[in-house]
């Protein structure tokens, strides 16, 4: 009898999710879907509010990447004012964005994914977590925790608070940085680089043992989208959008993030609260693209900082053309962390960072503003329309995780087909399906702008839709 397997809630991701696996009479997987079961309406609740409040309001979407929302929102605000922000403000925003990438990636890699990577996909679930890691290799875990703390500390030093700082605003930022803060940031850099070298070394050493997962967890051709600098290097704060294909060709380049709606479409499906963005010229679902660490490394020609550059050159050799294996999001994340630490060092040495003038003053000069930046999980867009008095009339957010939605669905289906058979369900099989999702480090609160604690459900259903088995964690 055909059946459906559900994984619900999906664990070690940020938010609520459910996976449905459909099986046929022979117990073979026919299809699978990744559902996001949260719903939240941030776009709705900011209507009628002054746009100056948006950075702080939008940062509440997420406790993991509030900085990305502050940045995209502040940039949309800069545009509504029609100003160029002071140099010190731009440098602060860059600095804090790198710190955010560092802390978020550290959470994803060390806390959420390291148990799979270093204890094994089939390790007992009770051990396959950060506490199990601590028993085995406390020093390594501590390094991971300290990397995350370093990122958070920078956010706290610059913004005054670790999680939701009142810091970014239309026109710049609220306060200048002092020498003591800068010196503290500088002093942690050597340790961070050492930890990242160690993590990179370790990950590369175990990658061979994941040959099957690398091959079957989200390995397929897609487009890749991200921001690059004018030189085509990695860029996270302010640049133009580039889209590349699986062969490594540039499909579109120099796209203005402000005009995102002209080249990115958003479809919706009844089985998920997440929108399904796609590259318009190729339609839905043909215009499937991925964003985030893997995409950024694929489309940029180099990193722009020496250590990350070396790693990136080596990384690019893992693919023919682009690296299409979603499993390599993990490696890409570590390389991005290295790049972030190097960039933080450069910014800490930049005399502009310390300048006093951090906010441009102006009244409202436009009715439409779009801000974008690279969030840890990919490109983020905030789009606001305001009335004559600066009150939000319409807001649209295009979130990184939802741009990976189609790819995550495909990953789940590919993983389920390869690893799952309903005849003998083993925990390790389902963990591989989840691990496919974790490659993307989805933040489901962000992508649906929804409330919730982490939970993950897997369901197995037959062709008629009857639930045959459900695994909840």
């Amino acid at each position: 009898m055909a059946e459906r397997i559900q994984i619900h809630p999906v664990t070690r991701v940020e938010g609520h999710a459910k996976i449905s696996i459909y099986v046929d009479d022979a117990g073979e997987v026919t299809s699978a879907q990744f559902h996001v079961t949260e719903f939240r309406g941030f776009e709705k609740l900011c209507e009628g509010r002054p746009f100056h409040e948006m950075p702080g309001l939008m940062s509440r979407i997420c406790g993991i990447c509030p900085i990305s929302h502050i940045l995209a929102s502040s940039k949309a605000g800069d545009m509504l004012l029609g100003v160029e922000i002071p140099r010190a403000a731009a440098k602060q925003r860059r600095l804090v964005n790198h710190a955010q990438i560092l802390q978020s990636h550290a959470l994803s890699f060390f806390h959420l994914s390291a148990p799979d990577l270093f204890l094994g996909m089939d390790a007992p679930p009770s051990k396959r977590n950060i506490f199990g890691m601590l028993e085995g290799d406390a020093d390594f875990v501590r390094r991971g925790i300290r990397l995350r703390q370093f990122g958070q500390r920078i956010i706290e030093l610059v913004g005054g608070k670790k999680i939701h700082p009142a810091w970014g605003a239309p026109g710049g930022v609220l306060q200048a940085i002092g020498a003591a803060e800068r010196d503290e940031i500088r002093s942690s850099i050597p340790e961070a680089i050492e930890s990242l070298h160690e993590a990179l070394g370790r990950l590369k050493r175990v990658l061979d043992s994941f040959a099957v997962e690398i091959e079957h967890l989200g390995n397929f051709p897609t487009l890749f989208l991200g921001t690059v600098s004018p030189e085509g290097e990695l860029e996270y704060y302010d640049g133009l959008i580039r889209i590349g294909d699986a062969e490594g060709n540039i499909v579109a380049d120099g796209l203005d993030p402000l005009r995102y709606a002209s080249y990115l479409g958003e479809a919706s499906e009844e089985w998920s609260f997440m929108k399904l963005p796609h590259y318009k010229p190729l339609g839905y679902p043909g215009g499937l693209y991925r964003v985030g660490p893997l995409a950024r490394l694929n489309i940029a020609k180099s990193a722009g900082t020496p250590l990350a550059n070396r790693e990136m050159t080596e990384f690019k050799q893992r693919g023919k053309g682009a690296v299409c294996q979603s499993f390599h999001y993990h490696l890409a994340r570590l390389i991005e962390m290295l790049h972030a630490v190097e960039s933080i060092e450069q910014l800490a040495d930049d005399p502009d960072l310390m300048r006093e003038h951090v906010r441009a003053q102006a009244g409202q000069n436009r009715h439409h503003g779009v801000g974008s930046c690279e969030a840890p999980r990919g490109t983020l867009f905030h789009d606001y329309e305001v009335d004559d008095h600066g009150l939000i009339r319409r807001a649209n957010l295009l979130i990184a995780t939802s741009q990976n939605n189609l790819a995550m669905n495909q990953t789940v289906e590919q993983a389920a087909r390869y690893f799952v058979s309903s005849r003998a369900i083993q925990e390790g099989m389902l963990n591989r399906v989840e691990a496919g999702i974790r490659c993307f480090d989805p933040c489901l609160s962000c992508s649906t702008h929804a409330f919730g604690q982490a939970s993950f459900i897997i369901e197995i259903r037959n062709a008629a839709g009857d639930l045959l088995q459900q695994i909840t964690r």
Partner: protein
């Protein structure tokens, strides 16, 4: 000038005849909570937070409007008063939309700090979640009805100090709203001189400088004492 002697919280204090209990208490370092009172403006007893117990009287009295009397025994901080104050602040919080974490006044709001001082960590009443507008039609200032507690400080400062009388209260009870002139958008008010005094005295995030983001609004009230003493005593002190 006659002087009265009385007891406030077991402390012997003196004050000028006719002075309010509230003022005498503050002069002696006893800070009775309040939201509608602000030094330099007339008192209206609107917020009921400054209620005190007076020995020999069953009813609580608003200390901002009750004059001292010789031999009075006053208590400003008893379990009963604390319960009342908590209740009042919770009702204020439930009445409109107070979401401190996304408010311009976060960190410098009298309602917020009073709630914290009273140990209010949740509200026992159902929130009303009214749908209220934000008026940002004025070039320099904004009024967010969601955060207004109807203390009428803005009404009084505009009337008594600036002399413009732009603000007033319309409606009844919980549906009352602060209005400029006859209910026009603030930006179209003919009486408003754009002096900003109302913005400086507002205890919450209701009146704000346009362009301020979350937790950025800070106020400077030095002007009140300066103008009031200049007028009354012809002394120009900073």
């Amino acid at each position: 000038m006659n002087v009265n002697t009385l007891q406030i919280d077991r402390k012997m204090v003196t004050g000028r005849e006719g002075d309010a209990i509230f003022a005498v208490a503050w002069e002696h370092g006893i800070h009775i909570p309040r939201l509608c009172h602000i030094g330099g403006l007339s008192d209206v007893g609107a917020c009921r937070l400054c209620m005190v117990e007076i020995e020999g009287q069953k009813r609580l009295q608003a200390s901002c409007l009750t004059p001292i009397q010789e031999g009075m025994v006053v208590r400003t901080d008893t379990p009963r008063l604390r319960q009342h104050r908590k209740l009042i602040v919770e009702l204020l919080l439930a009445e409109r939309n107070h979401i401190c974490s996304v408010c311009v006044a976060d960190g410098a709001c009298e309602l917020q700090s009073l709630a914290a001082a009273l140990g209010i960590d949740h509200v026992r009443f159902r929130y009303r979640f009214p749908t209220l507008p934000v008026d940002t039609s004025h070039e320099r200032f904004g009024l967010d009805h969601n955060r207004c507690i109807l203390c009428t400080r803005c009404v009084r400062v505009c009337d008594e100090i600036e002399g413009a009388h732009t603000w007033d209260v319309c409606g009844r009870g919980a549906n009352s709203l602060i209005i400029s002139d006859l209910g026009e958008p603030w930006g179209e008010s003919e009486s408003c001189t754009s002096c900003g005094k109302c913005v400086q005295v507002c205890p919450t995030g209701a009146l704000f400088d346009k362009g301020k983001t979350i937790a950025e609004m800070r106020r400077d009230r030095g002007f009140l004492k300066y103008i009031v003493t200049a007028r009354k005593e012809k002394q120009w002190i900073g």
